[in-house]
Amino acid sequence: MTDQGPTPPEAQADTDALLRADKVTMRFGGLVANRDVDFEISRGSIVSLIGPNGAGKTTFFNQLTGMMKPTSGDIVFDGESIVGRSPHEIVELGIGRTFQNIRLFGAMTVIANVMVGRHTRMKASWWASLLKLPAVREEEAATRKRAQELLKLVGLPRRYSEDWAKNLPYGDQRRLELARALASEPKLLLLDEPTAGMNPGETAQMTALIKRLRDELDLTVLLIEHDMKVVMGISERITVLDYGEKLAEGRPEEIRANPAVIEAYLGKQATTSS
């Protein structure tokens, strides 16, 4: 496990971290979901968070997005601590997310879902909306246009835009969730199992899409994923959680060879049998 890459990732991470978690601990009563997790993402990278079920990955996500407040520890995003901020403030700062079990606004149209995503980037106040001031109309038209661009970007056909979100096929619902998250112009995009429930073809498309989005929109991406092919294929770095603690961290090839990780995933005998 010697460094072979042109730039040592550690050195880069230290100087240019977009998000840094410092000893984040989350307790639910006696249960410790996350214990002293240190974590960093450098700008522009794609990082995966992996671990067996119940390892505390989604809990960690929820703390990054403000849906839960860490029991202790600090999370710094783009130079600002986000601990104690409400989810909508964190969206405004530039963290967008999708959900493991797709959570769209089912009884709203596809385009409206994406337009809600742009909420924080719009200015129209309630009284200006009520009076339909010219500025509001302009903003509304611009938002609609941008939403349509995003739908195109994630590969949703235009004819869907006036359909109800919940009537879309499964794979397209995932794409729509992605478009909604992108609409808030995030710097950091959190994806909770973006390829769950997809067939190999859809999975490959989604993986390619995530990479393309990162390049085109200057994103930093953190994803939770179970599909090792996706993880190994897409990630620049991988963090492994097990029983709420950080087990390992490194580049894909390092993680693949890490005995502790193999043990956590496959059990003890596996190391010998494989």
Binding site: T65, M67, S86, P87, H88, V91, E92, R97, F99, R103, F105, G106, A107, M108, A112, M115, V116, G117, H119, T120, M122, A124, W126, S129, L130, L131, K132, V136, E139, E140, T143, W164, N167, R180, S184
Partner: protein
């Protein structure tokens, strides 16, 4: 014909029989015997069992969805006839009981007169046979609605319902016609409290024919309108709006004093409905204490404007008090909104229900008496000048605020704000995680809802000139909620239609006063069973509620339909 269908037909007949017993024994049949539907031909009392028979026949002759059974034409007719005859049998038994035993002591309305109506004055034997066969016939008639093309069945049903309503509204429609000097039409259509036979046929033919023609040709017309160049469409729209506006402006003169009063009340409820629609329909916050806002608006106006109010002098004019009403609305909106921010669904409903009751009790209490007049209320509240305290005049400010509210609600619905509310209604935590400040948007919904409710209350106070705390009871909240559900949740035109039907119709049908709540309840139950999305549904709600139907239909289509075949649901 299978056992299952037969059993359902008998069961429908039994239910219909129960309904028939009920309307007979509460006295509706007897009371309405004195009211002609078609002059000198049929009374309102007589058609009640017939309508029930048609309804159960329709029910019995239709497809049995849960088992995927669709009766053939002959079976459908037979099933309808059986169900109808079952109703007849039960009513004949009632008539028989009445003439044989003296049950008048137990059941106040079980009088010989009732038996006579049920037996068509033909004596026990012949009368019973006529009743059973006749209702069987009407049952079969109900079943035929499934056998004719859907568009025709629809046209006939709507035509029938409209004709009956037109007949029932004789006292008012007649007055309106005389009012605008159309005595000739009035004499042609109406006689002795009901429609003339010719009028009956004419009204039925016009509505049924109109509905049918629209079903056949409506699509074409719509396409042709859509194909018109935009300028011409805009002109068409303008003409349409101008006509509607002119009608709305002239309405009080057309309908006269008595109906203007009703229109005013409808307008107040339209305002309430539009406000509550923001809270419940847009933002998904079930508020059962909406009357609190109505009361605050009314009391603020009364205290500030009435010379008889105990607390505040000198008196302001209505328009001077209005800004204070709005401020009070915002304040009370926040007061109610802030503590319930963390509550969802049922809990929110219960807490707001409590708020509504608390508001009324406070206004009535001895503690508040120096300001609100306590149980004595506040008298001599002036009208909003230059309008007078007269139904035909006060109609205009009410209309003005209704239009204002409707425009405001429409603009909000399709804006950033409306979308945020809808997102919150769909999934609150995801809305927050998508960037919506749910706390603020809940408060905004409560605040705006409160403003609409308070303005309605202010107009109410100056419309009737006196207010008592007991006017602001839970029925106001329930009415407002029921009308938006009936009209179609989240839809602004639906609010207007809902208010007309739920608030307007009962006022038009005043002689039904005794049975008003009964009919009201029955209409609501029927609506929820037959058309849960409301009369004018919002697209979204319709999708939610009919998803399962669509799946069923699809399956039936795929399965070929028609023959008996189990459907997986």
């Amino acid at each position: 014909m299978t056992d299952m269908l037969l059993r359902r037909a008998l069961f429908s007949g039994l239910i219909g029989g129960m309904a028939g017993l009920h309307v007979s024994l509460v006295g509706m049949v007897g009371t309405f015997q004195s009211r002609d539907l078609i002059a000198d031909v049929v009374t309102v009392g007589t058609i009640m069992p017939m309508l029930i028979a048609i309804l159960v026949g329709w029910q019995a002759g239709g497809p049995l969805r849960s088992a995927g059974l669709v009766p053939g034409p002959r079976d459908a007719l037979a099933l309808g006839a059986i169900a109808g005859a079952a109703v007849g049998l039960i009513l004949a038994a009632l008539a028989f009981l009445i003439v044989t035993f003296d049950i008048n002591g137990i059941l106040a309305n079980a009088r010989p007169a009732l038996a006579e109506i049920l037996q068509f004055g033909q004596g026990p034997l012949v009368g019973s046979v006529i009743l059973i066969l006749g209702l069987g016939l009407f049952g079969a008639l109900g079943a035929t609605l499934h056998l004719v093309p859907a568009a025709l069945a629809r046209a006939v049903t709507i035509g029938g319902v409209v004709t009956i309503i037109v007949a029932l509204m004789e006292p008012f429609l007649g007055a309106v016609l005389r009012n605008v000097n159309l005595d000739l039409i009035e004499e042609f259509l109406y006689a002795s409290g009901g429609l003339t036979p010719v009028g009956f046929v004419l009204v039925f033919a016009l509505t049924a024919g109109g509905v049918y023609a629209w079903a056949r040709r409506g699509g074409e017309v719509r396409e042709r309108v859509a194909a018109l160049p935009p300028e011409r469409r805009r002109i068409g729209k303008l003409i349409w709006f101008a006509a509607l506006g002119a009608l709305l402006l002239l309405l009080p003169q057309i309908v006269g004093q008595r109906l203007s009063e009703v229109l005013g009340t409808v307008g107040l409820y339209v305002l309430l409905g539009l406000g509550l629609n923001i809270v419940v329909g847009f933002a998904g916050l079930l508020d059962l204490g909406y009357v609190a806002f109505y009361a605050v608006g009314a009391y603020t106006t009364a205290v500030l404007t009435s010379p008889a109010s105990p607390a505040f002098s000198p008196e302001l004019p209505f328009w001077g008090a209005l800004p204070f009403v709005i401020v009070a609305a915002a304040f009370i909106g926040l007061l109610v909104g802030a503590p319930v921010l963390r509550l969802r669904g049922d809990y929110l409903a219960i807490v707001t229900l409590g708020f509504g009751e608390i508001a009324r009790e406070i206004f009535k209490s001895a503690w508040a008496q120096p300001v609100t007049g306590g149980a004595q209320g506040i008298l001599s509240i002036p009208a909003p000048l230059p309008f007078e305290n007269d139904p035909q005049s006060i109609y205009y400010p009410i209309l003005f605020f209704c239009i204002l509210a409707a425009v405001a609600a429409t603009s909000l619905a399709s804006s950033r704000v409306g979308r945020a509310w809808n997102a919150m209604r769909e999934d609150e935590s995801v809305a927050e995680a998508t960037g919506v400040n749910t706390t603020n948007y809940k408060l905004l919904a409560f605040g705006l809802g409160a403003a609409f409710g308070c303005v309605s209350g202010a107009l109410f106070a100056s419309k009737i000139g006196v207010i008592f705390a007991d006017s602001f009871n839970i029925l106001v909240s329930i009415n407002a909620l029921a009308l938006i559900i009936l009209g179609g949740m989240g839809n602004i035109a639906g609010v207007v239609v809902g208010a007309l039907v739920l608030v307007g119709l009962p006022e038009f049908l005043r002689e039904f006063a005794e049975y008003r709540l009964l009919i009201y309840g029955a209409v609501l139950v029927a609506m929820m069973l037959l058309r849960p999305e409301g009369l004018l549904p919002n697209r979204t709600r319709r999708a939610e509620l009919h998803e399962q139907d669509d799946i069923d239909d699809q399956y039936e289509e795929e399965a070929g339909g028609g023959t008996a075949r189990p459907v997986v649901t």
